[in-house]
Subunit: 484 residues, 2 copies
Amino acid sequence: MELLDVPVPLMLTKIFRYIDISKETFINNLKEVVAIPSISCDMKHRGDVMKMLRWIEKALKNVGAKTELCETVTQNYEKGKTISQPPILLATTGNDSKKKTLCVYGHVDVKNAQMEDGWDSDPFIMVQRNGKLCGRGTTDDKGPILCWIQVLEAFLKMKVPVPINIKFVIEGMHEIGSQGLNKLIVSKRNTFFSGIDYCCITDGYWLGTVKPCLTYGLRGLCYFTVEVTGGKKILDSGHFGGAVYEPLHDLIFMLNSLVDLNGDIDIPGLDKDIAPMTPTEESLYKNIDVDTEEIRRVLGVPKVKYEDCRIDHLMSRWRRPSLSVHGIEKVPSDPGVHTIIPNRAIGKFSIRIVPNQKPERVKEFVITYLDRLFDVRRSPNRMKVEMIFSAPAWVGDPTCSYNFKAAQKAVCIAYKMKPDLIREGGTVPIASRLHQVTGSSVLLLPIGAADDGAHGNDEKLNVSNYIGGHKMVAAYLYELGIKR
Amino acid sequence: MELLDVPVPLMLTKIFRYIDISKETFINNLKEVVAIPSISCDMKHRGDVMKMLRWIEKALKNVGAKTELCETVTQNYEKGKTISQPPILLATTGNDSKKKTLCVYGHVDVKNAQMEDGWDSDPFIMVQRNGKLCGRGTTDDKGPILCWIQVLEAFLKMKVPVPINIKFVIEGMHEIGSQGLNKLIVSKRNTFFSGIDYCCITDGYWLGTVKPCLTYGLRGLCYFTVEVTGGKKILDSGHFGGAVYEPLHDLIFMLNSLVDLNGDIDIPGLDKDIAPMTPTEESLYKNIDVDTEEIRRVLGVPKVKYEDCRIDHLMSRWRRPSLSVHGIEKVPSDPGVHTIIPNRAIGKFSIRIVPNQKPERVKEFVITYLDRLFDVRRSPNRMKVEMIFSAPAWVGDPTCSYNFKAAQKAVCIAYKMKPDLIREGGTVPIASRLHQVTGSSVLLLPIGAADDGAHGNDEKLNVSNYIGGHKMVAAYLYELGIKR
């Protein structure tokens, strides 16, 4: 890959130098926060989530931020049992009306991790291996949050004024659906969330392992359950097989009707609202470096769809809806030999939706279709389809927003490379929510690489990405602060 | 129901009286064996299975039996770990060459049970509630085994010679597939299993709760797994949904193709070998008292198949093959919200087969069909169908065998009712095996009632069935022993 000859602005050279000499300290800080097992899905670790929030609050105060821990809703976690959710941390650095204001979102909670999942070392004791910082939360999202705070420290220590005001939104419930976050943002839309010019989320990953990227789009999600109920009891297939209408037969029929032979969505109407391709969007795809054979190899699958067409492959992941069946509840999934007829079966599937598709319309198409199908089947069992969760797709304006221009420039300064402008197929509901509430441009600025394995075993963040991330963030702040 | 006026033969009156006065003792004995948690599927309880076998061995010795505990095979229960299986108990009472010889099969092991499954009281502390003996194993199969031993005690105590020689086969691995039993029977076909005139299995249940029955047929079983494997890793549906061929889509397609819209088998060839209905068989169906509406109510299902035709309903359970899907392995089945694309999915289904169907032919039809279907689908994933277990169907000769005539007479004596001659839809592989090896007539003589809930919570045996069962067994021995 050819490197660009982009000079580092004078003001940033001091900052970059501070970052370079602080490398070991920054790594030690990351080690310190990885050691706090802030696992949000495990009630036992709620205290650790709180500890993490306090750690970050203190660090933000040290770089001059004003902070506030906002209580949110109470969570029902079992029938009749409730637990207070961790608060959401809001922080502000700078209050200069002549400067622009950036809103940064991050989360301090992590997914569960244990040696049995196949980790090479304790997931909560960060170790350095071959230039990689290995441990739970290194890349998702503790490393990226530290980048922001430590860059502010660099400005402070180097006595360089921070070029922009920053408002931080840091939560500890991201990995279990950010309950309470939405409500908080809406309730503070005219206070904390007013006067914001740009938003930045340091989530997501590069498309590969070498070239940085900026993410300007995400698919949304419509999550469904289809439940078929027959009788009140699980029956023995010997006694009653052949004499009853089996709920699992019904459910399998319904789930099979959702996709065609190729595994593509086969629900009437669902293709109606998809945003058409624009020439600008098309041109963005053309510039992206991606190798479908390499992806196939990394995923270990026998074949990817559209293997001969790079652009089609990316479009299938980023800008076309897809449907996946995730599991079936109430039905045995263990290795045993079962001869039961389950009396109830709940299929779970989700559709990743794309710009212009509205969750409510998708819900209507799906429910109408499955209801009609079930009528055709004439089963005496009961069938119920529900959309239990949804989030709209999000797409930013990468070619005309200054937010993206500044980030692009920042990447050039920090990495001497022009970033790919990409979308991601996953769903980060906060992106469209921040755009909606602040009215400003939202940008996803990934710090980690494609192979970081965020939710898997041996999660890591390359030292080069961690240090490069600091420089990218510093350059981004610098670029955003330039008078235009 | 009208009761028959069948006199009790003089020789049996003493036996029946002994049974009546021993009621409390017999109930206490059952309580004693229920308290031994001989759960065969749980390695921790292997000692209890052994304890049960020893208890029964001692009881058989007390009524004059010669016993032998035969070691069987070693079981692999985890990768690299083996455990000795409980031995099989063989016992002989009587050795009079002028008498006929009966072989009785039973098992002392039980399915697991715990309060959390919804029991009203500790499953291993038998209690009496409304004429019911509630506890794990009361009806399946500890109660029935005690009937035999205690009837022998009655003959002994009343100084009435037992009219027939009996050979007992008692095992402790029934609930987990009777591993080792087959091998033992074959190895002793010319010794222990020679010279047998009749076989009796006191397993199964009455068709309802009032009228006894004799069972002359059972469906067999062909158990299949269909495995679809895509890549090496579980993928995120956000990142890769739409770009990969999802194994679960493939599997659902395959499973859906096994049955038609009505849930009936749709595999070419599978109907080829089914034994045609004979006039004799048809006449047996006509005499059976069964109410499809009552069955529907007991099962709690919205509708049973063939609800308007009693005979068709029974035929669908007893003499037609059926296909049930039991579960899907490697795919989440818990209540959580998952957004994964499983990289592997194993469907489990079984076909209950009927007379004239051969497991090997069924296997061939199924594999040929699914292989062809998968070719049509053109998925790049790997698909593998396997038949992991099979047992042939069994059908006896209820109208001409003296075994059935004697049992019929015994029921009339003990219950003043003519039993229904029924089949069952389940599979008891020992039935056809005993017929094959001994060449004699096999009979299933159910002691429990339809609502005993053998493998479920609150398993019970009615006191009336337990005591009636003793009388029925005594009368059966008497009838079998009559010189013809």
